[in-house]
Symmetry: C2
Subunit: 335 residues, 2 copies
């Protein structure tokens, strides 16, 4: 059966849309009552002003609904994942630096445009819900989803529910201090984890190696991307290998702390640099293997099964947004 | 009203006992239906063998019941906090290194002896429940209680409930890696937080300073205790001041990670070395102040109000054990 028994499709409803809004693109999926995918459409986010941004989001949703043949009243609700701080109850996008707006009543606007309820949540929390719902064959109730992009963000699911914390900052592991005298992070402090473990971190470390004169094929790149570093490492480039080993080792050390904090069933990794697959995971697993050789606690806690890469074929943000919509409708149904 | 509206005393019941079992002492409190303290008795834990340990626990409880004048059927239940891994449902003490037993059916034995239900939980989780119930004037629902003794342990309360994690290891912050090349911890790995932030850590750092030839009044101590280091620091001893500054700074850095993981309402510190009060907290708060000067995220998250020392006049372990008993009876009452 697909996907899992964890989330029944809202009774009597026919279609849901899940929208993943980012600073570059808006992706919308439309699903039917058997959770089958009817459409998966991506458009560019227009950042010229708030009205243009809103228009591009609406156009992306309309395009997906049209592709799904969902032009009538069969759409039951919209779920939306959005970067930054969100008020999930009021449907307000408080501060979304990437979208250049603050205190924007997005849920209300979407409801005016599409005539259905719209439910908002922070994008990485929505993606964690996507993993929990659609990429969770063992129906685990507690998991952490870590998204590695320009920075690092995480969504925490405890007892099957999104865990936000007091200010909505729970899971901000990207700002674990790992090098008290390291480089300055976007947050203002020095040596945060995401200055190393992120696409930006990979690029920075590679550039530092090049500047120090390390011989490397990366020197030929005009615009260096994190993907180039993983490809060069796969091809045997020494500098690239050192960079990805450093990144994986630091991630392994940080995820030890995550495991000690939550003792979750699973830690799932996603985002651009995890596409490197085993090459990405190898230094993390090597660090854990080293810790297991030394420690009974580590043998108990840091098993290779604790960590994996999310299903890369599914846009977890958009699917998770559809799951969010289903959950909210089910909650309303249950009173 | 006392204590807080967070935990009603079980309806129709008259007395509860809370027992805090440690490797050195057993402390039992007996409380009445208005949560007034009737007795607070401590006896030595007899570690010669399991039967002797059990006998000393039972003797401690009997002594407290006698002191409370509770010799008849008015005792409704026993709550028990115990070091190590516990099965709270079966009432089994799986592995309690300090008590030198494993897989001991403690709840069943206590029920046989006292004719009432006995409820078991890990001691630091019970103490966290004690803080949540009896030292929580703002009725906060999410808090972390960190106990600093020989090592470091923590109990996590989320949404008013004890949070254990998959294997009961949630909150094992003492094993955060803070010095990958540091000294070997009891767990087998190097540089765990508790090798620095604990009574043992304080003593070790002071000894290392003495061995390196630092001039210090601590050189006169025949048996060096963590308390001596805090007293010497208060008296202006340079080495002692360096030690407690190092400990507080590392704790401040680690609690940043705790705050980022859970974003709780409050982090409460307890255990021997926290008795030093402001002297203990000062370097932690100085580290946070430094981080706040640099970072908007830190200004938002690491406020001085986030951390405090637990009420030192109350044995949180024993009181929390009484709270545990009340919760379980209330749950049973509610079906």
């Amino acid at each position: 059966m697909f996907p899992s028994a964890l989330l029944p499709f809202p009774q009597g409803k026919r279609r849901l849309a899940g929208v993943d809004i980012g600073g570059t693109t808006v992706t919308t999926v439309v699903v039917d009552e058997r959770w089958q995918l009817l459409a998966d459409e991506t458009v560019a986010t227009d950042l010229r002003d708030n009205a243009a941004t809103m228009a591009s989001i609406a156009a992306g949703i309309r395009q997906a609904l049209a592709a799904a043949g969902t032009t009538g009243p069969e759409l039951a609700a919209l779920g939306v994942g959005i970067p930054g701080m969100v008020d999930p109850l009021l449907g307000i996008s408080h501060l979304a630096v990437n979208l250049r707006w603050s205190d924007f009543p997005l849920a209300q606007r979407l409801t005016e445009l599409f005539g259905v309820p719209a439910f908002l949540e922070n994008d990485v929390r929505v993606a964690a819900l996507g993993v929990h719902t659609f990429d969770n064959p063992n129906q685990l109730s507690d998991l952490v989803y870590v998204a590695l992009g320009t920075g690092m963000a995480a969504g925490v699911i405890l007892d099957g529910q999104i865990f936000r914390g007091r200010h909505g900052l729970a899971g901000e592991f990207g700002h674990f201090t790992v090098e008290p005298d390291g480089v300055i992070c976007g947050c203002g402090n020095r040596g945060c984890l995401e200055t190393i473990v992120s696409a930006s971190g990979v690029i920075r470390l590679a550039r530092e190696g090049l500047a120090a004169g390390a011989p490397s094929a990366l020197r030929a790149a005009t615009v260096l991307m994190a993907r180039d570093v993983y490809e060069a490492a796969a091809g045997g480039d020494k500098l690239a290998q050192q960079v990805i080993e450093r990144v994986g080792t630091e991630l392994g050390r940080a995820l030890r702390n995550v495991a000690l904090a939550y003792d979750v069933d699973e830690i799932v990794l996603g985002g651009g640099i995890t596409r490197a697959g085993d090459l990405f995971l190898a230094p993390l697993l090597a660090e854990w293997a080293r810790q297991r050789r030394e420690s009974a606690l580590a043998r108990f806690l840091l098993t290779p099964e604790l960590v994996r890469i999310a299903d890369p074929t599914r846009n977890m943000g958009a699917w998770g947004a559809a799951a969010l919509a289903a959950r909210r409708l089910n909650q309303i149904e249950q009173g």
